[in-house]
């Protein structure tokens, strides 16, 4: 291949992306889609700003409302809620030292310090800009790399899928809980619950006890809403019993000014935002890691590269920029393994997988062939989300402090009733409501015995895919398990699995101080 061929190939590659984006833009730019994005970001900001209402819960609660929508509108709404919720978490983190989401925990380090100095407005504006720039950076990189990823994904067959899922659940189980063993146990339990109902290869009933409802298996959304919403409701219910008056979600703070960010401050932090976006992209692609480690890693890198590292932890705008760009950088990245391979990297993308299946869209390499315009439309939605994040974010900077003062007595009963209506509406089946409540109590028990919920949920989604990968591979090889070692991709994932186990076990055995060096 000479230079001209190479230039031709590169030009063709980017030309295809350009024409794909053009087609996607034609599909996306309708009033309903724009309303879905702006409305979704606002809903996400609202949920993200309320401590206790997780990003997952906000996406899961919105999901039943998308079933009557056009697929692109529904997916755009879910994506926008996700993007908005990650940013929303920073509002209560900065104003009240209470991260609205785990991903915003890093933002409290400098955000609340600035609030105490009377510079809350400056911190909120910086968080908003950093969220936008971090998300935009990773989204653009995902768009540029996506066709390449889709081409690689075509080489995935049953043994490769099996190896990839084993790798995914090992990483998710390893990093989710306090102990890798407990994380993996939660994952296996998730796989076991996914076997209830018809088996995915031959269609025979399993563990149905003669019940038609159980023969269909547990629906994903009731299980998800139950595991995330009901335990939080029960916690708040118990907490309310210990106080005499209805309590606000977060305590009031004295600092309430709205000072603005200067161009110089923005410019000094810009490189940390871009770096944070790239870190978010890299960590977002790896299943199970998600926004929280991305925020902390980005923060640490910014501290090392800053001219004023001594300010970090005491009200550094660069620290806020790095943390927020890092946690927002995962937004686009988590979609890459979902859309190319059908493998959700975290619980939110597991919800998105459920939505895709409800819209009769099978994620995987063929999605890029059969529904390229939809994928590029979704990328357009992600880009518009960044614009919406800025516009809606400015409004939320002003109203956020009031939102977090809403008494729990109004919020949590509403959330519970919404969960019941939303769950019922999925299949018009009261059994789903019972499933939601049962899994909710199960989720509380899991939490108390330190079994992490996230590996359980992801394993539940991936269970049928894992079983198909295992059983089909063994059928092809006439029962010979060596088929898994004949594929270089599968072997690669098995090696990565072993490396992940070694790395996670070593990091857990290392003394706590060694990581701070």
């Amino acid at each position: 291949m000479d230079v001209l061929d190479l230039i031709g190939a590169v030009t063709g590659y980017f030309g295809a992306i350009g024409s794909g984006l053009w087609a996607g833009a034609h599909l996306f730019f309708t009033l309903s889609n724009l309303l879905a994005v702006f409305g979704g970001v606002a809903i996400g900001c609202l949920f993200g700003a309320l401590p206790g209402l997780s990003i997952t819960l906000s996406v899961a609660l919105v999901m039943p409302f998308t079933f009557n929508m056009d697929p692109l509108t529904g997916l755009s709404l879910l994506t926008a809620v996700y993007v908005g919720a990650i940013y929303g978490g920073s509002i209560s983190a900065i104003l009240f030292n209470t991260p609205g989401t785990p991903a915003a925990a890093c933002t409290t380090l400098d955000g609340y310090a600035l609030t105490q100095k009377g510079q809350a407005g400056k911190a909120l504006h910086m968080a908003n800009w950093a969220s936008m720039v971090g998300d935009l950076t990773s989204t653009i990189l995902v768009i540029l790399a996506f066709p390449l990823l889709a081409k690689v994904a075509i080489y995935f067959r049953s043994p490769e899928y099996f190896a990839l899922i084993v790798f995914s659940i090992t990483v998710v189980g390893g990093v989710a809980g306090r102990s890798m063993l407990l994380g993996l146990i939660a994952g296996i339990l998730g796989f076991l619950f996914s076997t209830v109902g018809m088996d995915p290869v031959q269609g025979y009933g399993r563990f149905d006890f003669g019940s038609l409802e159980l023969l269909s298996g547990f629906s994903f959304v009731p299980l998800l809403i139950g595991l995330f919403a009901v335990p939080e409701f029960m916690r708040q219910f118990v907490r309310s019993g210990r106080s005499d008056a209805s309590v606000a979600i977060a305590a009031e703070t004295g600092a309430g000014d709205d000072n603005h960010l200067t161009w110089r401050e923005f410019k000094a932090s810009f490189r940390h935002m871009v770096r944070g976006g790239v870190i978010g992209l890299i960590l977002g692609v790896i299943p199970g890691l998600g926004a929280t480690p991305a925020a902390f890693l980005s923060y640490e890198q910014a501290r090392r590269n800053s001219r004023h590292p001594e300010e970090f932890g005491h009200g550094s705008l660069e620290g806020i920029a790095a943390a927020e760009a890092g946690n927002n950088g995962v937004n686009g990245a988590t979609l890459a393994p979902l859309l190319t391979l059908g493998i959700p990297g975290d619980v939110v993308t597991a919800v998105m997988l459920g939505a895709l299946l409800i819209f009769n869209l099978q994620p995987g390499p063929m999605l890029f062939v059969t529904h390229a315009d939809l994928i590029y439309g979704l990328f357009c939605a992600l880009l518009v989300c960044d614009v919406a994040l800025r516009i809606v974010g400015i409004a939320f900077i002003r109203v956020g402090r009031y939102v977090t003062r809403v008494p729990t007595g109004y919020v949590f009963p509403l959330i519970l009733v919404l969960c019941v209506f939303g769950t019922y509406s999925i299949n018009n089946n009261i059994f789903d409501v019972f499933v939601m409540l049962s899994f909710g109590i199960g989720g509380l028990v899991m939490e108390r015995v330190r079994l992490p919920v996230v590996p359980f949920v992801i394993a539940f989604v991936l269970g049928p895919m894992l079983e198909k990968g295992l059983r089909r591979s063994l059928v092809i090889s006439d029962g010979d398990p060596m088929i898994f070692l004949h594929s270089p991709i599968a072997v690669g994932f098995f090696i990565l699995t072993i490396l992940a186990i070694v790395t996670i076990v070593r990091s857990r055995l290392a003394p706590p101080n060694s990581s701070k060096a």
Binding site: R178, L192, I430, L474
Partner: protein, 160 residues
């Protein structure tokens, strides 16, 4: 053995019990035998998972015996579920039972009002107005706009 240690040991022991029930009774009784051959029947995958779960539970038990459990904190000294948790769980199932008996709309109105009172919203008129408004909005959205047939309950079906 302290309470905390008992609780930590109880989890893997319970999981081993679940594995025994699965392998000895649930899988043979509730999974059809077809496919045979290379162990590829619908029973194959649940058996693999049960074996993996038993292995992990045994490893967890072994690590507890070796004293590799995490640091002690106040959270693990309490029982898995305390009395207020049971009250919360029972209230949820009472809500579910009310949906089955009187229908989703009246049950949700009552649940909203009751929970708001439990959450210490003291003003009755605020509770009633809020519960009525939320219920009305949900009915309009789900039943009218999205054409979802909300369950009327045994009482609702008997009356109309």
């Amino acid at each position: 053995m302290s309470f905390r240690r008992t609780r930590e040991f109880a989890v893997p022991v319970a999981l081993l019990g679940v594995c025994a029930i699965l392998a000895g009774w649930l899988i043979p009784s509730h999974v059809t035998v077809v496919g045979g051959g290379n162990g590829l029947s619908p029973r194959f995958f649940p058996y693999v998972l049960t074996a993996a779960l038993a292995l992990l539970a045994t490893m967890q038990l072994a690590s507890l015996f070796r004293g590799e459990a995490g640091e002690e904190d106040s959270e693990v000294r309490s029982p898995v579920l305390e009395a207020p948790d049971y009250v919360a769980a029972l209230s949820l199932f009472a809500y579910f039972a009310a949906i089955v008996v009187i229908g989703m709309v009246p049950a949700s109105f009552l649940a909203l009002a009751a929970y708001m009172r439990c959450f210490r919203v003291k003003s009755w008129w605020k509770v009633l107005v809020y519960a009525a408004a939320v219920t009305a909005v949900l009915v309009v959205f789900f039943q009218v706009a999205a054409s979802v047939q909300l369950p009327r309950g045994m009482l609702g079906r008997a009356l109309w």
